[in-house]
Amino acid sequence: MIQLENVSQVYRSRRGEVRALDEVSLTVRNSEFVVVKGPSGSGKSTLLLTIAGMIRPTRGRVLVNDADIYHLSNRERARFRAQNVGFVFQSYHLVPYLSALENVLLPTMLVSPDARRHTACQLLNHFGIGQRLAHKPAELSTGERQRTAVARALSNRPWLLLADEPTGNLDPETGLQIIEYLAEFHRQGGTVVLVTHERWAEEYAERTISIRHGRIEEGS
């Protein structure tokens, strides 16, 4: 279970302060599929990064299964991410110099020294990249890139999948395919927090949350 308690996230830069999250309280149950929507700049990405233990909130607490992840040491928090969280981004964010297979194997080096090559190949096969294992991201289509990214997010068998507008750069058909994969992960017991603008994607979700100016406007 993920609990955000009065979380505020203020970015300080030379151009002044930006309150990206403003007193956000939110609970995501295990095995829940939550869609987060909101206009650009409303704080959606910040919300995901905060849940993942990537940016310490200016105020408030983030509890994952009752443990405050920002009370962990940096090393422990990195390990928490490696073992529990999968990330999918809008612009795929594959490592450009690694092949599709190597990208999927990348997170596994943090948890199992003997790289789970077999599992990685299976994942890629499942997502239809079986014939493209040795290709670099630049040699893949956008759909293939995002499917590789999903495979990478799942390669450590996390229970939590955070997806930040994963369909933003894809044609509707490919986008649908990606959301189907997330739904499949959810059906198998995984927890999904999906940031998206696609109305149809909300149909997969058990709950939709709207954010505006860093505040949650309860939708469901």
Binding site: R75, R79, R81, Y97, L106, L110, N156
Partner: protein, 378 residues
């Protein structure tokens, strides 16, 4: 997948950046290796030259007037031959060789000649080194100067009667165009007999070795052992050359330090550019669960790898340069230029260390970079 593999893949991918770093490191190492290799060769050569060209310290009895010594052909005053042995057996004097001479201008067969008895003595410093050429004359033998030999028709293997002593001509010395041409060299003891000066000598010449110490120190050491003597420094081509070498060595140190600094800055800058170029990647790795130590290892390891490869390439290039260009530029004997293999091991350790240190700041920037900055940029 491992950090090492990740690192190698990145290097493969961004070849140019890697090669630029490698180039800088290899250049610095090559310069250092080439200069050092040639410096050593030049050292060997200088030592050899000094041995051939003559002695750089002259020990004379106190009563010898230096003005007379240089003006006349031989010196007034003499000292015991035993001084030679005493010098040679005293440890800690920075000289390789001593040659005792007894020299007198005499008339022989109606002309003036310089009769010179020589006896060389090695010191304990390096007993393996050979005595200077031309000073090992056995008893009963002599070397005859060119002018005398020519005008009197003396040839090799002739026997001459030198003021009552029969000596075999072992060599007619090549024309020197100097006093050497009217000189007859013989063993010290033969000359002492001929001149009736048993156990006496009038100079000891010493060759200062390149084992450190200044001329002043050497002079002090010698006068401590030999009372009643004066010590004169002879400035030969060899000493001048040795001074040049010392001066060059000083500048080489400066050049190498400057090049090292520039290359370190260059490597650091390239690392910084690498870090900047990989900002998003760092963010992704963070999101995937890579810790600070992984990120640091990735960038520091990359620098160390550049250093390691640069050391190897630089050593090869520097050695090749010294071997092929050195002999021409520095007029060195090719065989004296030897690869400085003893440098290889230290270089292989030190160069990656320097490259890593140069990249330390960029790596820290990578480690402390806020992933939110790159990952919210969409």
């Amino acid at each position: 997948m491992s950090i090492m593999r990740l690192l190698l893949r990145e290097v493969q991918h961004r070849k140019l950046s890697f090669l630029l770093g490698l180039l800088a490191v290899a250049m610095a190492v090559a310069l250092f290796v080439a200069l050092l290799t040639m410096g050593r060769a030049s050292n060997i050569e200088t030592t050899r030259l000094m041995r051939n060209l003559g002695f750089n310290v002259l020990i004379l009895p106190k009563e010898t007037d230096l003005a007379d010594y240089w003006a006349a052909d031989s010196a007034k005053g003499d000292m015991p031959e035993e001084y030679l042995r005493r010098l040679a057996e005293t440890p800690g004097i920075a000289a390789d060789h001593y040659v005792a001479t007894l020299e007198k201008k005499v008339r022989w067969r109606g002309r003036a000649i310089l009769l010179t008895g020589v006896l060389a003595e090695r010191t304990a410093i390096d007993a393996r080194k050979k005595a200077p050429m031309g000073y090992k004359i056995p008893r009963g033998a002599c070397y005859v100067g060119y002018a005398i030999a020519h005008s009197l028709g003396i040839k090799r293997k002739d026997t001459i009667d030198l003021l009552g002593k029969k000596l075999t001509v072992q060599r007619v010395v090549l024309e020197a165009g100097s006093k050497e041409d009217i000189r007859i060299y013989a063993h010290l003891h033969d000359v002492q007999e001929v001149l009736g000066m048993r156990g006496r000598i009038n100079t000891i010449q010493a060759l200062q070795c390149l084992c450190g110490g200044t001329m002043a120190e050497l002079q002090e050491e010698i006068s401590g052992v030999l009372p009643g003597t004066q010590i004169v420094e002879l400035r030969s081509i060899a000493t001048a050359r040795s001074e040049t070498r010392q001066m060059v060595e000083k500048h080489v140190g400066f050049i190498v330090a400057a090049v090292l600094a520039v290359c370190a800055a260059w490597v650091g800058l390239l690392s910084l550019l690498n870090v900047r170029e990989r900002r998003t990647e760092i963010g992704i790795l963070r999101a995937l669960g890579f810790g600070s130590s992984h990120i640091a290892a990735l960038f520091l390891g990359r620098a160390a790898f550049i250093g390691l490869l640069g050391a190897a390439v630089g050593f090869a290039v520097g050695t090749a340069l010294a071997l092929h260009v050195g002999p021409e530029i520095f007029k060195l004997t090719f065989s004296k230029v030897r690869p400085a293999y003893d440098l290889l091991i230290p270089l292989v350790f030190v160069t990656p260390l320097v490259a890593t240190l140069a990249s330390f700041l960029p790596a820290m920037i990578a480690v402390t970079q806020d992933p939110a900055v790159t990952l919210t940029e969409e």
